[in-house]
Assembly symmetry: C2
Homo-oligomer: 181 residues x 2
């Protein structure tokens, strides 16, 4: 990839939130990563709730040199009453996210489904905001997932809530390869 112009980098540094019950939060993050990588930005997506690599996005990201996806963290099936191991893994994933954000290697870092981990009390929003506040200037951050806490919404520059109007899962359609994952 060609080096990104300083003019593009200079404008970066905002915090986005995608939340709400509707479909399209992780999908919007992927689209943002795709667009940014097209401009030559270095993009990292850390997935807080995807331990496996069997997703269409992982297969696609392998083809893009300046877009990396790290599926870390917990499984979707975590209990809503946090266990010690759930909390430990969430904290370790946040620590890893901090190291990557602070490394200076990335222009855009997406913390996919981190909102859920705060909603479930595995991570404290203040802890997450602390990590973000100390980041190098010009690193753009995206936080996705249901249940973004109020403090996170207050801290963010840009917040979109995905509302669920209609979903085929209600009609018995299950998640499909290539579309939902």
């Amino acid at each position: 990839m060609s080096k990104v112009s300083p003019e593009i980098k200079k404008e970066l540094g905002l915090v986005h939130v995608y939340t709400g019950p509707g479909k399209g939060k992780t999908t919007a993050c992927l689209g943002l990563a795709f667009r940014a990588s097209g401009r030559g930005l270095e993009v990292l997506m850390i997935q807080f709730l995807k331990p496996s690599e069997n997703y269409g996005e992982h297969l696609a990201a392998e083809r893009i040199p300046n877009f990396t996806i790290l599926p870390l963290g917990l499984d979707h099936m975590v209990s809503k009453v946090p266990r010690d191991i759930d909390i430990r893994i969430a904290k370790e994933t946040l620590q890893r996210a901090k190291e990557e954000i602070y490394s200076g290697k990335y222009d855009l870092v997406i913390l996919d489904e981190i909102n859920n981990t705060m909603d479930w009390k595995l991570l404290d929003p203040e802890e997450v905001i602390g990590v973000l506040k100390g980041r190098p200037k010009n690193v753009e951050i995206v936080l996705s997932g249901r249940g973004a806490p109020k403090k996170i919404i207050e801290y963010a520059d840009l917040v979109t809530e995905m509302g669920l109007i209609k979903h085929p899962f209600d009609k018995g359609v299950s998640a499909r390869k290539g579309i939902e994952y």
Copy 2:
């Protein structure tokens, strides 16, 4: 790309709508295209309101052999009172979309910002639904853009409304290369 398994294709054929005033509609479409292309599906995005090719997504799509973006249609700056030429271009773009959908070449076809053209009375929702109804089975369709008409929402299988909670444009930040386009 490897050929897609018939099991994946067999499950396709639904209609998605991304609408609402919030950020992330086109971005979610790009993410969906990215994921589907990773699975080897053939993806086409027709942009109803982007005549130029100076977008991060166009640069990124060039690197993905099974993902094509066609920037057709009108400029964003179209008058809200439709002129004859606005209507003609919208109809031509729909006709082109129909040809591509019916060609059998694509598994997923995204009609980006087509909702706006219906909202502005350039296209009749019945006309669009007519095109979709006659499509080959197993072609998945996505309609994006503000102001999706009620008939479209009724016809769709999956509808997400992007709500605008907070946007940095309110604070004087303008659209940034690599993030917003």
